[in-house]
């Protein structure tokens, strides 16, 4: 069976072959949900936002000009829906929080990360997952877009509406925060062991 590309599906959708839309749902459902969950931190809200994004994408497919990939376009819709949901929770845009641009104070700690060679990769992944889920949404969403949705800096910039340079800075700070939190977590364990 020939697998149609997103672009081919979009072209056929625009010609009225609406039965192909569930294929796009299948392709973007889980990764989209992961992104929504990172931003909204609530399963029900994330599902609602994702449904809303799919409905908007379906209704607005005629407006999709194809200047970016369908995935980027869809994530932009999803991201905006999530932002609106956050705003409804009276949380102003996560990229305009007071003190924006500053990581939480790392505090005094050893200069360099410790030795994680005693940890299995599975354990590390689970801890990283746990730390990312506790990170501020602006960092967690960037981490998700870069590592899970596998978007480039330019695509993340397109999705979020931020300059590419700012995206790089956010990603760097997100990684920095992650490393710091991992260091804290794993060193505690090392002491116990």
């Amino acid at each position: 069976m020939i697998q149609l590309s997103d672009e081919e599906i979009v072209a056929r959708l625009r010609n009225g072959e609406t039965r192909l839309f569930p294929t796009l749902i299948g392709r973007y459902r889980d990764r989209g949900f992961s992104l929504a969950l990172r931003i909204l931190r609530n399963t029900q809200d994330a599902e609602e936002a994702l449904q809303d994004a799919f409905v908007r994408a379906y209704n607005g497919i005629a407006k999709f000009e194809g200047t970016s990939a369908f995935g980027t376009w869809f994530y932009r819709i999803l991201y905006n829906v999530c932002m609106s949901a956050l705003a409804r929770r009276k949380q102003v845009s996560i990229f305009a929080e007071p003190g924006e641009g500053d990581l939480p104070d790392p505090g005094p700690e050893p200069e360099l990360p410790g030795d994680y060679s005693g940890f299995e990769m599975r354990d590390l992944v689970s801890r990283v997952e746990s730390v990312v889920s506790r990170m501020p949404a602006k960092y967690a969403s960037i981490i998700s877009m870069f590592y899970v949705q596998e978007l480039t800096y330019a695509e993340i910039a397109d999705v979020t509406g931020l300059p590419a340079g700012t995206v790089k800075t956010h990603l760097f700070r997100a990684r920095l925060l992650l490393q710091k939190e991992m260091h804290k977590e794993l060193n505690q364990d090392t002491v116990i062991v």
């Binding site: 039965r19 749902i25 889980d30 399963t43 360099l112 990283v128 490393q179 260091h183």
Partner: protein
């Protein structure tokens, strides 16, 4: 030995040759086991990030979404299989059964029943008699299998199942299918 600051090491881990400070840090790391260990730790976390899994929404998510969009959920695979192959299978099985059983004398059916049902001639007569004739003929053959052969012969059982699937397939193709697929996604 002056170790690079934590941030410098992190920048190095995410940089590429040619970036500012890359070669100096690389030189230090090459001769410093402690920094090599620290770099390995940074990279382990980075690898973990690449392995972050995707979460899945609830099982009802797609069904609810398709409902919102006015579409029907994807047909199950087994139903698609039956829908696509049962009518073809049915035609083949009916033809094979008529020809094979018509010339065979090894069936368990009573001679009068066999004479009246099996063979090309009874089949043609049933076809000529229209819908009622075909129904009576098909029912007669099914009854034969149920009454005389079922359980005594694996081939008969298999053929009975073929008839059953064929019936479902034909029902779907000509009756249920057009009704259900009227609003297919």
């Amino acid at each position: 030995m002056n170790h690079p600051a934590r941030q410098t090491l992190l920048e190095y881990a995410w940089s590429v040759p040619g970036d500012p400070g890359f070669s100096e840090t690389a030189e230090h790391i090459a001769g410093c086991p402690r920094c090599r260990g620290a770099l390995a730790a940074v990279r382990a976390v980075e690898q973990s990030l690449h392995r972050l899994g995707v979460q899945r929404p609830s099982a009802a998510f797609t069904r609810d979404l398709l409902k919102k969009l006015g579409m029907r959920e994807t047909t199950p695979i087994w139903w698609t299989f039956l829908k696509n192959f049962a009518p073809i299978l049915a035609s083949g099985v009916v033809a094979a059964a008529v020809i094979a059983l018509g010339s065979s004398t090894s069936g368990d059916a009573e001679p009068s029943l066999r004479k009246s049902l099996f063979g090309v001639r009874p089949a043609m007569e049933a076809l000529m008699a229209g819908v009622d004739g075909c129904t009576a003929w098909t029912t007669g053959i099914a009854a034969k299998y149920l009454t005389f052969s079922l359980g005594s012969d694996a081939i008969s059982l298999a053929m009975f199942l073929c008839f059953l699937f064929a019936g479902i397939g034909l029902l779907d193709r000509f009756l249920l299918g057009p009704m259900l697929r009227r609003k297919n996604y």
